[in-house]
Subunit: 207 residues, 2 copies
């Protein structure tokens, strides 16, 4: 029978092979389900609440399936972080473009993200988790968002677009962080005007 050990002896012990006598039982709780659950919990309750038992309870299973698909919780947390980073990328690419000045659209999306997804924002841009990506890397998001905006500023005649980006971003990041602590609470319209005017102020100043 096919289940017998083959004549050649290269097979490691218990190696799974095609055509074995008995096939695996269908998995009911997939890696995707675990990750989605943990990510949803991060969004709603924050990263610190993503514990093995709480994820299991919300997924409607025991903790065992988690450790079947992830080696340990660190691996799951890392996966949640990656998913959050990708989520921000999607959020930005879908955010309506309201501003005309460089960095303003990116900034509007960033501040709105902080308001609407405070726990994800905290995870990505405030806390210091191991394996953290830099802010620049997260903003660029594989599509060169920052590079695009900097080129926009260059095309608009800005002599030092990198310096301008830094100034704009200090401003924008400050607003986003204050949103979390309740110290900033302007509407999108007010924020848009603020950013546009700040750009003008920074761009027209001496370099």
């Amino acid at each position: 029978m096919a289940a017998q050990a083959p004549a050649s002896g290269f097979r490691k012990r218990r190696r799974r092979m095609k055509g074995m006598v008995h096939m695996a039982r269908k998995e009911t709780i997939t890696m995707q389900m675990i990750l989605d659950t943990a990510f949803a919990m991060t969004r709603e309750e924050g990263f610190a609440n993503v514990t093995a038992r709480k994820v299991a309870a919300r997924a409607g299973c025991s903790t065992q399936p988690i450790f079947r698909v992830y080696k340990n919780m660190d691996e799951l947390w890392q996966a949640v972080y990656e998913k959050a980073a990708a989520f921000f990328g999607d959020y930005y690419s879908l955010y309506p473009r309201m501003g005309r000045a460089p960095f303003v659209n990116l900034g509007m999306a960033y501040i709105a993200f902080a308001r609407e997804e405070e726990h994800l924002f905290e995870l990505l841009f405030v806390n210091s988790v191991p394996g953290k990506k830099s802010m620049y890397e997260l903003l660029n998001g594989g599509e060169g968002n920052v590079v695009y905006e900097i080129n926009l500023a260059k095309a608009a005649g800005c002599a030092d677009p990198g310096d301008l980006f830094m100034k704009m971003w200090l401003f924008i990041h400050g607003a986003a962080c204050m949103t979390l602590t309740g110290d900033y609470d302007l509407s999108d319209v007010q924020t848009l005007e603020l950013l546009e005017r700040s750009y003008q102020a920074f761009a027209s100043g001496k370099q």
Copy 2:
């Protein structure tokens, strides 16, 4: 003898009174020692590491003295928070005045505090602890620091000093927060120049 129960019966049971027969044993671990230890740990390792057993270990005692002088850990944490707020007030009042434009001195001290006392900054200005003071309250520090700076701007001919303060502070808070995540790393001299120029940009723009 004075230890006898007084004729009047208002005394609650076990009420401590002056002139009792036996006086208390001298306390060896004081509330001040516990608080100082917990505060030092917050500075060095962060608020999350202030646990009963760790404080006790560092103070060289068991956990019992902590719960003699504080009802529970929440009370100690609250006291640490208050001490941190006072510490920032002292830090600001002792910080050398480098800038001339309004809000610049306050901002320089704020950014330096974020760099030098990252865990205290996190506790005071980033995290959302229960009983948190507002940023404005912390900055004012009982001495009207913000009010003073706003008057400075008003005296300098600024039409809307409140708006100017908001803009400057978004900028400053952004720099301080990015310091924690490693996304901002300019020297004091560079920061001073940045703040002075930003003030000029904001102040000369249209209101």
